[in-house]
Symmetry: C2
Subunit: 249 residues, 2 copies
Amino acid sequence: MSGWIAIAGLGPGAEDLVTPEVRDALAEATDVIGYFPYVARVPEREGLVKHGSDNRVELDRSRHALDLAAAGHRVVVVSSGDPGVFAMASAVFEALEAGPAAWRDLDIRVLPGITAMLAASARAGAPLGHDFCAINLSDNLKPWALIEKRLRLAAEADFAMAFYNPRSKSRPEGFARALEVLKEVCGDARPVIFARAVSTPEEDLRVVPLPECQPEMADMRTMVLVGSSRTRVITRDGAPIVYTPRSTP
Amino acid sequence: MSGWIAIAGLGPGAEDLVTPEVRDALAEATDVIGYFPYVARVPEREGLVKHGSDNRVELDRSRHALDLAAAGHRVVVVSSGDPGVFAMASAVFEALEAGPAAWRDLDIRVLPGITAMLAASARAGAPLGHDFCAINLSDNLKPWALIEKRLRLAAEADFAMAFYNPRSKSRPEGFARALEVLKEVCGDARPVIFARAVSTPEEDLRVVPLPECQPEMADMRTMVLVGSSRTRVITRDGAPIVYTPRSTP
């Protein structure tokens, strides 16, 4: 049987947010490759080899996956969320472009998943219900000046904003600077959603007016959503509902 | 049994892209409400009433759904893609905010789905693999000037861009103007993806350099993705792969 490679999204965490398409690919795979905690989400099965690896080795992992597929294995590269949003798909294609020409003949598919911002948005209401942008706040792979430029232009465009990787132990200061920029350029009390580990047992959701936001409210498992100037909060018993109206006068 | 309302995303079209969470909600529902073609995607079943309605009656449809849930029905409001991205969730919350106070006590959930831009991105490779924005190109609910402003700022921010509702019979000119703006401000041959009806039997995918793009390449079933200045095309036998690298020097 000839090999293939599927770059699949496992969704934000809950089993019932994994698409049947991804489940079917995992059922046919000989090898699953990815970051340790994502590989751990795939059940053990006879005939399935699990290759977990650490963060920041995405290109090595991609070459390994392409090598295995070229040798006839049926390989699923797993990401959480959607593989095309700040996840493994770009890394695999970077490796493919720089690799042997024969890799271009491989049967290669990307299987979409529920990305974190959509899961977080669903829990909060519909904060991304109008035009929005998604920004990776990590400056591991791009200069901080570019992040800050994008924040300012996104605010000027009045996009709602979704921030991936807002803050980590090794980068505690970036998110603090991002909040300073937003407080300066937005100048209002629009709602900010801190959505941690949505759809897992550790799920936690907070809605905080921008002026009251503190850097410590986010960590690497937190998705941060910032409303546009039009975003509204519906208060009620229990959690408020945050949504951005469809229309702008 | 008390009523509830779930605002659910059916994904882009294929059955195996519907999450188990959405399937379970549909299995428990007494009523399904939505735009005709989306309601038609839900199989008939004894005990399930299907309420299809036309486009542009989203607020009436939302009030109907909230009324039914308040009367004890188990209601699923269906959208294609994700309900929180240019779909029914914002409309339901607009109706809820303006409606009777009792509606705020309803059991109301949003169930995420695979939105069109992620399905299109997966088919093309990983064009949204770095920072990006999503813009609804319809000017039914916002002025054209705001759309054009957002296009210019998004290009300045060097976002990849995803365009929903690029073109319809009643709005043939907007997408032509959007292409003119992009050709002017981007000034290069970055790849544009026209992804029509992804994951359905009518699926069609084209990758076209921006200077060669024509308005007629899109219709209302087309998702348009525009690369950033960093987006790359890998040529090979068969469809090219379009991806945006994770890093910016």
